[in-house]
């Protein structure tokens, strides 16, 4: 039931891959079309990796697995990731 967390906890791991904060990035769900900040997604940390699901339709949005020297990011349920890019 409430054995999930949220996308705030993905920030550190995704921060190893991206130069921007990804928790405030917006994504769109392939399954239902809803848009969420990554921080708002439901994250199940008990799988071998982190699994983020859509809060509306429960579809898998992304999976993140971290190995000793590499990471696998599966974005199967995300049509678009909108990231704020500082104007430098």
């Amino acid at each position: 039931m409430s054995d999930y967390m949220d996308g705030n906890m993905l920030g550190g791991k995704l921060g190893e891959l991206f130069t921007m904060d990804v928790t405030s990035a917006m994504l769109t769900c392939v399954s239902c079309g809803a848009s969420w900040a990554v921080a708002q997604t439901r994250v199940y940390p008990h799988a071998p990796g982190m699994v983020a699901r859509c809060p509306a339709c429960d579809a898998v949005l992304l999976r993140l697995v971290r190995g000793p020297d590499r990471a696998w990011l599966d974005l199967r349920g995300v049509t678009c990731l909108e990231v704020a890019v500082p104007d430098r």
Partner: protein, 260 residues
């Protein structure tokens, strides 16, 4: 503090424990000196990594309790407040073994969504903070940042806690509230109220939010942090009361993989 927005990939750093102090019987604040700390925003967290001699390592996230350091005068200190879980893997070490001078590996600052900044465009916008247990930690960073920055944004904190002995920052919250500069604190005790209190115990409900929060017409920014069930219940009550879902930011923590 815009520069504190993360502009490079996050890497692990090693901080050194400069001080510790107990907040309650089971919670401890750890002050870390982190060379090269880039600064942070109130509400951000760090990931802490412990590695055993055999190479086994595990990570947890902990909210930063301190306001962002003043880049000029202050050393690059970061304060974490850790609630010990009886069956925890990491929190017993952090609250019972870790001592001044010990190194601690951390990655951060992490997160740019669950943050409050006094420099924001809506900086005088009212703020409602709703804490469940140790969910008060990132909200305390916001209260401290508000004071440090001299912000006039009116703040209300509703703090749900099991009993008076579990209150984090009780003295500081009382002092800051008595300063009368726009911080109001309401405590909700779920198990035991303070001696002599006529306040009934129970969970935060619609009446609590109506009396101790802001009306939706004030368009407050809302931050809710606590265990998942607490966050879901409070966010649901707020939406039903008429607050826009987009104005409510939430952060959940749980017994594993999260913020124990």
């Amino acid at each position: 503090m815009a520069r504190a927005a993360v502009l490079g990939r996050l890497t692990w750093r090693v901080g050194t424990v400069a001080a510790t102090h107990d907040e309650t019987a089971t919670a401890r604040t750890i002050v870390l000196d982190v060379p090269g700390w880039p600064g942070h925003l109130a509400g951000q967290h760090v990931d802490v990594r412990l590695t055993a001699e055999d190479g086994y390592s595990t990570e947890r996230s902990y909210s930063i309790a301190s306001a962002p350091p003043d880049g000029q005068a202050d050393p690059p200190m970061v304060e974490l407040t850790v609630q010990r879980l009886a069956d925890g893997e990491v929190s017993p070490y952090l609250t019972q073994t870790l001592a001044v001078g010990y190194p601690l590996e951390l990655r951060g600052p992490v997160g740019g969504w669950f943050v409050w900044s006094p420099d924001g465009p809506a900086s005088t916008r009212p703020v409602l903070l709703v804490a469940g247990g140790s969910g008060v930690v990132p909200l305390m960073a916001m209260i401290r940042e508000r004071a440090a920055a001299g912000s006039r944004a009116p703040f209300k904190l509703i703090y749900s806690v099991r009993d008076p002995g579990a209150l984090l920052y009780a003295g500081e919250l009382a002092r800051r509230e008595q300063a009368g500069d726009g911080l109001e604190v309401t405590y909700v005790y779920t198990r035991t109220a303070p001696p002599g209190s006529s306040q009934p115990t129970g969970r935060i409900n619609a009446a609590t939010l109506a009396s101790a929060g802001w009306p939706p017409a004030e368009s407050p920014a809302v931050f809710v942090c606590g265990p998942t069930g607490f966050v879901e219940a409070v966010a649901d009550l707020l939406v039903r009361a008429g607050h826009g879902a987009g104005a409510i930011k939430t952060e959940r923590f749980g017994p594993s993989g999260g913020k124990p």
